[in-house]
Amino acid sequence: MLRWLDGRLGIAGLARKSLKKVFPDHWSFLLGELALFSFIILLATGVFLTLFYRPDAQLVTYRGPYAPLQGQEVSAAYESVLRISFEVRSGLVMRQIHHWAALVFVGSIVVHMMRVFFTGAFRRPRDVNWVVGVVLLLLGIGAGFTGYSLPDDLLSGTGLRIAYSVLISVPLLGPHLAFLAFGGEFPTEGIISRLFVMHVMLIPALIIGLVSVHLAILWRQKHTQYKGAGRTEGNVVGKAFWPQQVMKSAALLALTAAVLAFMGGLLQINPIWDFGPFDATTVSAPSQPDWYVGWLEGALRLFPPLDLTLFGITIPSPFWPGVVMPGLAFTVMGAWPWIERRVTRDEAEHHLLDDPTDVPIRVGIGVAGLIFFGLLTLAGGNDVLAIMFNASVEQITNVLRIAIFVLPASGGWLAYRIAASLGNNKSNLLGRKRGVKLRRGPTGGF
């Protein structure tokens, strides 16, 4: 059989080489695999849900087993999700695994990116793959948001309303963009089927495509590795793809599936029957998006209501926190390898990773960014915080408005100092001078 295949495809050589490919041994290299594996779980459960979901805004009368909704006019989409939850065998657990997996998927992308950032793994020649990663993060968020909206319940309808108001806030183009995306003025009947196509086809196809590119580039460029005895810019020390790495990854896949199944089975998530069907005239509180969109929601909540008029064009306030801020943030994130290269004038290729403390300033900036997004995410739940801290929403909002400037700066500075002193100690131990590494030229290899 194998020989037969080889006879047609001539892949034995390639396969043999691939099987022996070296993978470095360090747990932090598994974080990206976490993202990949939760994505696989998402695909599997998502296919199951697609079998029963109806992307249809048409009103039907609910006649299912959930008593408090019986006899109500609800959209066919909402009804189908109720059916998945209450009538389809193992439907609810599939829905819940799918939703938890989405939260974990984006979370592990972020954790993986933190590893890549703080160890400088994004440097030449991996800058391109860093950009692919940033786009994957965006796609992950997009997949989550479109999926969150599909059940057509009251909570997700509130999210769509906000998305609409952000789109329409773009100067000049806004109304056109909003109409293009929604097919009319919110709320529109067509939006559900549009979201469906994006959620089950467009975005997953793009993610699969880009993940393939991501992995192909990785394969071609080989892994980075941490510094250590026998590790140079020119080699990769570690275990072979087959059998060691495959076994390790298989175990990780199984455990990822186990953790997500555990969560989906035991922890209720997004009980849409409690929220009720979407109704354009009502909102419920507290109403939040999933965590990975929380930072956007938070930015909208923190930004003061300021409608500016410039040159006769009115710019509604959601434009700044909803379009400009995310645009800037993701541009800086994507362009980071080049920004850093400009500052350090380090054009060399790097295959050995930095210890985070080698470049304290990068630690400082990374931590500041994380605090910034963390605070925005908290602000997205300002009403929930208000209850938790027994304060008014206004107080919480004002505190966060100050914190969003103060904490990233001071936290970043603190992280910088800590990293610098840790790095100092270490280089003293190694008898090296500090600061040399910042401009280290190519050492060995290629």
Partner: protein, 241 residues
């Protein structure tokens, strides 16, 4: 003395107290007016006409008084904070007497009777989402309503209190005057149902939506998986050594 008789007697006593303010009550039954002067008049005025410290309650009615007293909201602490539920300051008899006294001051809603037998859960759900969820949350778990006020969780109030709240609009809550008695029964039925309904999907995480879900997703899900990665990663180091 059976409780029905005692209630009637106390009613008579209270009526007496209203009609003849100077008459001294003979029975051991609590005197509504006396209690009112003692505990309430400092804020609401001796005839319930209101002062700087409290609104007029002339037309608050029995429903408002009963609600405020049974949920322990009144007498209000003197610190300007929102009235919150606490153990009632008065015995049931005293509450009855005070309620009767407040009711006698003017025209207000009476204590509603709640009978959940014929209630329509589905109507209740719709009305609840349309009228109450914006403040109390979809699951009645409570929410912030701005200006420092909190809409409390609906997990404690008994059916009569829920109906009274709708009729009288305590604190920042609006009065639902346009709502029909039938609708009130339906809403009460749904609120009661909400707290009895089990969480179909497992632990309910507080029923306040994506915020706790996010914390659990990251704090439990991602953290668990990172820990697993560390274990898997370091295991290999051990057998390397």
């Amino acid at each position: 003395m059976s409780s029905a008789v005692s209630r009637r007697v106390s009613l008579v006593v209270c009526l007496g107290a209203v009609l003849a303010p100077l008459s001294v009550s003979v029975a051991a039954e609590p005197d509504g007016r006396e209690l009112f002067i003692e505990s309430c008049a400092s804020c609401h005025g001796s005839e319930g006409q209101g002062t700087d410290a409290g609104p007029s309650i002339i037309d608050a009615g029995a429903a408002a008084a009963d609600f405020q007293l049974r949920t322990g909201r009144m007498p209000l602490a003197d610190d300007g904070a929102q009235a919150v539920r606490k153990p009632p300051a008065f015995s049931p008899d005293e509450i009855e007497a005070l309620t009767a006294f407040v009711a006698s001051l003017g025209e207000g809603p009476e204590i509603p009777t709640v009978d959940l037998d014929g209630a329509d859960l589905s109507d209740g759900q719709e009305l609840f989402v349309a009228n109450c969820a914006a403040c109390h949350g979809a699951t009645g778990s409570g929410g912030a309503v701005g200006a420092g006020a909190l809409a409390p969780s609906l997990s404690v109030a008994d059916p009569v209190e829920i109906a009274e709240a709708m009729l009288t609009g305590p604190g920042q809550m609006p009065v639902f005057t346009a709502i029909e008695s039938e609708d009130i029964q339906d809403i009460v039925a749904y609120v009661v149902h909400l707290r009895e309904q089990r969480a179909f999907g497992g632990a309910d995480l507080g029923g306040i939506g994506p915020v706790p879900e996010g914390f659990v997703g990251l704090g439990l899900g991602v953290a668990c998986l990172v820990a697993i990665s560390v274990l898997l990663g370091s295991k290999r180091k051990r057998d390397e050594a």
